[in-house]
């Protein structure tokens, strides 16, 4: 029985997380599934900078100043550091509701809406809250079974709800959300500066060298220059424009998602309740504000080792085939998320991420909570803010 083997193997929580992320380095790194464009980004940056350091810098450092490659190196390292931080960190994923919580919310919703007769579409699940004198609607996420916090959105590519969701960026291979927005912004800013820097000094190099040996000879000697100039030219138009756009968003404390949906524009729409009204304050909050840590606890250990001691829970495991207390939604999504799990290892009921219960209690919990939740009649009022 695989249970005996489980004693030796440490299973960490990231292996059982739902959603379509890939994890590397035993859960330290978290990215989206499609990484092809990210590799392209890396290749372009590394390639262009390598050419620049190899050819132009050698000439310019001698002719003009050794500070030129030094500054380029600083910019390059900063851009790479922020890129890797953006790509590898948790953007602010909201873990899915555990079954108890989901059931509790369902009951609240039913209490508000009343039971819907079969065949009819249930009313949209929305809660209204008042923030800074504006009414903000919270939507219910059917995949994650939670009411999304304000500014959160569900990323269909990663299949996660992300806090302060900005957008999913294929160039960095990850979503951009609350926790990595500042890294993303600093990345595109430093990349813009780096691109402008390389572009400028390529022109300077070509100009200087052409004075000595002629334009065509210069190009023949360092053909890489043409490539660099081309790459920088196209990058300039896109990345600098993007930086400008995000500077605008930061100054107004908006997200790309809100901007695209037009959440705060228009006469009859709600004004952005999150903006402080002051550009400097908005910038400071978005870029230098406190950074919440990841709530996913990817490297936490799932308590499977103790399962060997609980003989009675073993038969229960395979028989109750629901995706148990692991944060997976039952039904459609389970097939997808189960491909991420190791097949053959039955997700044990004790694989509850985190509550400090010993395993003896968890199976019983499943017995009792199914039928015994009291109807929270008072909570009906809570739904209307």
């Amino acid at each position: 029985m695989s249970v005996m083997v489980a004693r030796k193997k440490v299973v960490r929580k990231w292996e059982k997380l739902p959603g379509r992320n890939t994890f590397c380095c035993d859960g330290r790194i978290m990215m989206a599934r499609q990484k092809g464009i990210f590799y392209l980004t890396l290749f372009l940056i590394l390639g262009t900078c390598a050419l620049f350091f190899a050819f132009e810098c050698r000439y310019l450092a001698v002719q003009l100043s050794p500070a030129i490659p030094v500054f380029a190196a600083v910019l390059f390292l900063f851009a790479m550091a922020t890129l890797l931080r953006t790509s590898f960190s948790d953007p602010g994923v909201i873990p899915r509701a555990l079954p108890d919580e989901a059931a509790f919310i369902e009951m609240e919703i039913e209490a508000t809406n009343g039971t819907v007769p079969q065949g009819q579409r249930p009313p949209p699940r929305i809660k209204n809250f008042q923030i800074n004198n504006q009414i903000v609607k919270l939507k219910y996420c059917y995949t994650c079974k939670i009411f999304r916090p304000p500014r959160a959105s569900h990323c269909s590519i990663c299949d996660n709800c992300v806090e302060r969701f900005d957008h999913h960026c294929p160039w960095v291979g990850n979503c951009v959300g609350k926790r990595n927005y500042r890294y993303f912004y600093l990345f595109i800013l430093s990349l813009s500066l780096l691109t402008i820097y390389i572009f400028t000094f390529n022109i300077v190099y070509v100009a200087l060298k052409s004075l000595k040996i002629g334009f065509l000879n210069t190009l023949k000697e360092t053909p890489g220059t043409v490539l660099e100039v081309l790459i920088c030219f196209f990058t300039l138009w896109s990345v600098v424009g993007l930086t400008g756009f995000h500077t605008f968003l930061v100054a107004l404390n908006q997200t790309t998602n809100e901007d695209i949906k037009g959440s705060w524009t228009g006469k009859n729409r709600v004004q952005n309740p999150y903006s402080h009204g002051n550009i400097v304050k908005n910038c400071c909050e978005v870029l230098c504000g406190p950074l919440p840590p990841s709530v996913l606890d990817r490297r936490g250990i799932l308590q499977q080792e103790e399962s060997t001691a609980q003989e009675e829970s073993c038969p229960r495991g395979p028989s109750s085939q629901e995706p148990p207390v692991v944060q997976g939604p039952p039904g459609g999504q389970a097939e997808e998320s189960s491909t991420q799990r190791k097949d053959g290892s039955v997700p044990h009921p004790s694989a509850v991420p985190a509550p400090p219960l010993s395993d003896a209690d968890v199976p019983e919990e499943k017995q009792l909570t199914s039928g015994e939740l009291p109807v929270p009649s008072q909570d009906a009022g809570q739904a209307e803010h």
Partner: protein, 176 residues
Amino acid sequence: MQGLVLGASGDTFGHVHSLQELRRSASLATKVFVQRDYSEGTTCQFQTKFPAELESRIERQLFEETVKTLNSFYAEAEKIGGSSYLEGCLACATAYFIFLCMETHYEKVLKKISKYIQEQNEKIYAPRGLLLTDPLERGMRVGEISIYEDRCSSGSSSSGSSSSSSGGGGGGVGGR
């Protein structure tokens, strides 16, 4: 009634079970979820509304005080001010490598919060057959309170726990 002691004012003497013993001897009856309060924006705050299921278990004032203290901790973690800017700028200047060696202010406050919750559980909630789960373990979405019924009560049924809980507690266990 061995299960849960209900000594006066919930002091931890002889019979009062530790959290571990609570988990072993009691069985989970239900869970209550304290939802987030978004009226201040996206900052992490929890509603102080007293859940109906806890009416018979704990004094309203104790519960509210716990939630208010938690809210103040979270507000402290997310405070935007001079020190957080300084931390942010310093981190940016070192290309965020400084976080390899030092903890953010937020993480420090979260540690304080989990200590506080453990302390509250030991002193106030466990003696009443309740267990407060750190919201961090629920993705900061909810504060989960597990309500336990005593399993090893012989004769006196589990409702006995609620009646003897009224025996304890210095302050009147009001509304029951």
